[in-house]
C-alpha cells in the first residue's frame, strides 16, 4: 500500500465513527420522520397508516397558520435587526484600539450564557410593576406601564429581543473576522482618491463582506426559524401565549409530540419546517451568492 493510500485509510477510520453516529442519530431519524408523518401514533401503541391526513388537518387548523405566521415574524424581524446591529457594533469595534478586548468580550458573553437563565431574567424585566425593572422605571417617571409579555402585539418582539441579544456576540465576532480579512490597501487607495466614509462602506466594505453576510444570514435564519428556548421559558407555562401570539413552529411541534403524544402530527409539522428551512436556505444561497 502506498503512503497516500495508507493515509486515506487512516483518515477513513477516523471519519467513519462520526459518520456512523450521524447516520444513526441524525439521518435515520430524519428519514423516519417522513414515514411517521403519515401515521397516527401515540409513542407507545401501534402506528396506523393514515396517508396525508395529518397534513390535511394542519392545512385546516387556524392555530397552525398563526404559528407559521409567528415563525416568519421571528425570521423577518430577527435576521435584519440582528445583522444590522452586529455589523454596526463590529464596524465600530474595528475602529477602536482602547478597550477593544474588554468590549468584545462584553458583547460575546451573552452568547455563552444559558438561554434558559437569560430568558427568565428577561421575563422578570418585562413584568408589570411592582416586579419588572423596565415598568418600575416607567412608573417612577409617572408613565403608564407597557404590557410586554401580556400583550398579543408586544409579546413577540419582547421575546425576540433577548434572542437577538444572545446571538449578537457570535455575529459580531464573525463580522470582525470578515472586516479584518479585507486588505488594508483597498482602504488606503480609496483614501488617496478622497472617497467619503459612506462610499468606502458601500463600495469596499460591504461587497468584500459578502461571503460573511451570506454565512450569517443563512445561520441566523435557521436560528430564528427554530426559536424555542426563549418562548418556552418566557411565556406562561411555556405555552407561547398569550393566545398563541408568540408560539413558534418548533414549540408547536414540541407540544404535539411530548404533551399530547401525537407523534404523527408532530412529525408532519417537522416535515413542513424542514421544507421551509430547505427552500429558504437554497434561495438565500442563490440570491446572495450570484447577486
Amino acid at each position: 500500500m502506498s503512503i497516500d493510500k495508507k493515509r486515506a485509510v487512516t483518515a477513513w477510520c477516523f471519519i467513519s465513527v462520526p459518520i456512523v453516529y450521524f447516520i444513526l442519530v441524525r439521518f435515520y431519524p430524519t428519514l423516519d420522520a417522513f414515514s411517521i408523518s403519515l401515521t397516527d401514533w401515540n409513542i407507545v401503541g401501534k402506528k396506523t397508516y393514515i396517508g396525508f391526513d395529518n397534513f390535511v388537518r394542519l392545512w385546516h387548523d387556524p392555530v397552525f397558520w398563526q404559528v407559521l405566521g409567528n415563525t416568519f415574524e421571528y425570521l423577518l424581524l430577527g435576521v435584519p435587526i440582528s445583522l444590522i446591529l452586529s455589523f454596526i457594533v463590529a464596524h465600530s469595534l474595528d475602529q477602536i484600539r482602547f478597550g477593544h478586548g474588554v468590549l468584545r468580550a462584553c458583547y460575546f458573553i451573552p452568547f455563552l450564557t444559558t438561554a434558559v437563565a437569560m430568558a427568565w431574567v428577561w421575563r422578570w424585566f418585562y413584568q408589570p410593576v411592582p416586579v419588572g425593572m423596565i415598568n418600575l422605571a416607567l412608573g417612577q417617571m409617572g408613565i403608564k406601564q407597557l404590557d410586554f409579555l401580556r400583550s398579543t402585539t408586544e409579546a413577540l418582539p419582547a421575546v425576540l429581543a433577548p434572542a437577538i441579544w444572545a446571538g449578537l456576540g457570535f455575529q459580531i465576532v464573525i463580522f470582525m473576522a470578515g472586516l479584518r480579512a479585507i486588505p488594508q490597501s483597498y482602504y488606503e487607495a480609496a483614501k488617496i482618491d478622497g472617497a467619503s466614509g459612506f462610499r468606502i462602506l458601500r463600495e469596499i466594505t460591504l461587497p468584500q463582506l459578502r461571503p460573511t453576510i451570506v454565512f450569517l444570514t443563512v445561520i441566523s435564519s435557521i436560528g430564528f426559524l427554530r426559536i424555542f428556548d426563549q418562548v418556552y421559558n418566557m411565556t406562561q407555562e411555556g405555552e407561547g401565549g398569550p393566545l398563541n401570539a408568540t408560539r413558534p413552529l418548533v414549540l408547536h411541534i414540541y407540544k404535539a409530540a411530548f404533551e399530547r403524544f401525537e407523534m404523527g402530527m408532530a412529525a408532519a409539522q417537522t416535515v413542513v419546517l424542514f421544507t421551509i428551512l430547505l427552500i429558504i436556505t437554497i434561495i438565500q444561497l442563490r440570491v446572495l451568492k450570484n447577486g
Binding site: W124, P128, V129, Q145, R150, E239
Partner: protein, 403 residues
C-alpha cells in the same frame, strides 16, 4: 428485626407514586408500619418525577413490568381502564356500600360498571386565603373574610393599591386561570350562578348558557370592570400572596405548607364565598389502584396494602405529615381536624365539592386561560369568548371519546 426465614418467604410488591418529598416520606412511614403488622409482605416504593410519571406507568404496565399498586390522578382513571392497567377491587375487601358510606361522595367517580377501581388516601379542595395585615391596612376587620361574591368584589376594591402612574401595585384578589382559578370558575362560579359545567355523563359542555355568561362576567369583571386585579400578577398568584402583594387568593389545601413557610405572612383561611346562598367547591385527589400485573398471592398482598393505606390511621398520618385532607368522613370530621383553623375550611368544603372529569387537564385548562385573555387583552365580549371556549372544550372531549 425479622427472622431471616420470614423475609426470605416474603411476598414482595411494588408501589409507585410520583416524587414529592413529603408524600414519599409519609409513604415510607406507612410502609414501615404496614410491614411491621405484616412481616410476610415487603413493599418497595419507587418514585418518578411528576412530568414523566404518567408515561412511565403506561409504558411499564403495558410491557408487563411496573407496579402492583399504583398511584394515579383521579382524572386518569378512564385512560387506565381503557388501557387495561387496573383491575377492580374485590367486593370482599372493599365493599362498595361501605366505601359510599365512609368516603366523601367525590370518590364515586372511581366506580365503573358497579365496581370500584381505586381509592384515595387524601383529597384536596379549594379555600380562600386572606392577608390579615393588608385587611387591617385597608381598614377592614382582619378576622372577617368576604362571605359572598359581592363582598369579595367589594373587599377587593378596598384592598387594591396603585402607584403614581395608575398601575396596580397590590391586587385585591389574585386572578390566575392557569393555577386554581380555572377550577374555581368551572365547578364553583358556574354552579353558583345556576348552571352546570357539563352534563350528567360528562360528555357535553353545558356552561355555554346565561348562567355561564353571568359567572364568567363576574370573574372577568374583577379585572375589566372592578379593576381589582391583574392576570398572573407577579407571575403567579401564590408568589404575590406570599410576598404580601395580594390581599385575597384562592388556592388548594396544598398551598398551606407554602404559606406556612413564608415568614411575616399573617393569613387566614375561609370557605369559598357563596352566591345566592349557593355553596360549591372543587376537589381533586390522587388514588391508589391495583394493576393487572398483581396476581395470586401478590394480589392478596396488594389488597392488604391498599386497605392499610386507605385506613383511618393512614389518613390521619397523611394529614399530619403531608397536609392533605382525609378522604374518609370519620377522620375528616374529627373535631381537631374539622375545626382546625387551617384545614377546617377545606374539610368543610368537601361536603359540597365537585370534581371535574377531565379528558385532558392541561388542554381543558388552557381553554379557560384563553377565554379570559380574549376578553382582557383583545376586548372580546364575554358571551362570545365563552362560546369559543365551550366549542374548544367540546372538541377536546369529543376527540378523547373517539379513541
Amino acid at each position: 428485626m425479622l427472622p431471616i426465614a420470614a423475609v426470605a418467604h416474603a411476598v414482595e410488591i411494588d408501589y409507585w407514586q410520583y416524587s414529592y418529598k413529603s408524600r414519599v416520606d409519609a409513604m415510607d412511614r406507612l410502609i414501615a408500619a404496614f410491614e411491621a403488622e405484616n412481616p410476610d409482605i415487603k413493599v418497595h416504593q419507587t418514585t418518578f418525577p411528576y412530568a414523566q410519571y404518567r408515561t412511565k406507568v403506561a409504558a411499564a404496565v403495558s410491557a408487563g413490568e411496573g407496579p402492583d399498586v399504583v398511584q394515579l390522578y383521579y382524572g386518569w382513571l378512564d385512560d387506565y381502564l381503557n388501557a387495561g392497567i387496573l383491575k377492580p377491587l374485590s367486593e370482599e375487601n372493599f365493599p362498595a356500600a361501605e366505601i359510599e358510606k365512609d368516603f366523601f361522595p367525590i370518590v364515586h367517580n372511581m366506580k365503573a360498571d358497579g365496581q370500584y377501581f381505586a381509592l384515595p388516601t387524601a383529597v384536596r379542595s379549594l379555600g380562600l386565603f386572606w392577608n390579615k395585615k393588608l385587611f387591617r391596612e385597608a381598614g377592614l376587620d382582619p378576622d372577617i373574610p368576604p362571605k359572598t361574591l359581592d363582598e369579595l368584589a367589594d373587599f377587593a376594591k378596598k384592598l387594591t393599591k396603585h402607584d403614581r402612574a395608575g398601575n396596580i401595585i397590590q391586587v385585591g384578589i389574585t386572578i390566575g386561570p392557569i393555577d386554581q382559578d380555572h377550577n374555581w370558575w368551572r365547578e364553583v362560579l358556574v354552579r353558583q350562578f345556576g348552571g352546570t359545567p357539563y352534563n350528567a355523563d360528562n360528555t357535553k359542555v353545558t356552561y355555554d348558557d346565561e348562567a355561564g355568561i353571568q359567572a364568567f362576567d363576574y370573574y372577568a369583571g374583577l379585572v375589566t370592570d372592578h379593576k381589582v386585579s391583574v392576570v398572573d400578577f407577579m407571575d403567579k398568584g401564590e408568589i404575590a400572596f406570599k410576598a404580601g402583594r395580594a390581599a385575597i387568593h384562592i388556592d388548594g389545601s396544598f398551598a398551606l405548607s407554602t404559606f406556612d413557610r413564608a415568614r411575616r405572612l399573617d393569613y387566614g383561611v375561609a370557605e369559598l364565598p357563596t352566591y345566592d346562598g349557593i355553596k360549591s367547591n372543587f376537589a381533586s385527589y390522587w388514588v391508589n389502584g391495583i394493576t393487572s400485573k398483581a396476581t395470586g398471592e401478590k394480589r392478596e398482598a396488594a389488597e392488604k396494602f391498599l386497605k392499610f393505606i386507605t385506613s383511618e390511621k393512614a389518613m390521619q398520618l397523611w394529614l399530619d405529615q403531608v397536609g392533605e385532607l382525609p378522604a374518609r368522613r370519620a377522620v375528616a370530621n374529627r373535631p381537631e381536624n374539622r375545626d382546625n383553623p387551617k384545614f377546617g375550611p377545606f374539610i368543610r368544603g368537601l361536603d359540597y365539592a365537585h370534581s371535574t372529569k377531565f379528558y385532558s387537564e392541561a388542554e381543558q385548562r388552557r381553554t379557560v386561560v384563553d377565554m379570559l385573555d380574549r376578553v382582557v387583552l383583545n376586548g372580546m365580549s364575554v358571551a362570545r369568548s365563552l362560546r369559543i371556549a365551550a366549542e374548544e372544550d367540546q372538541a377536546i372531549i369529543d376527540k378523547a371519546r373517539m379513541k
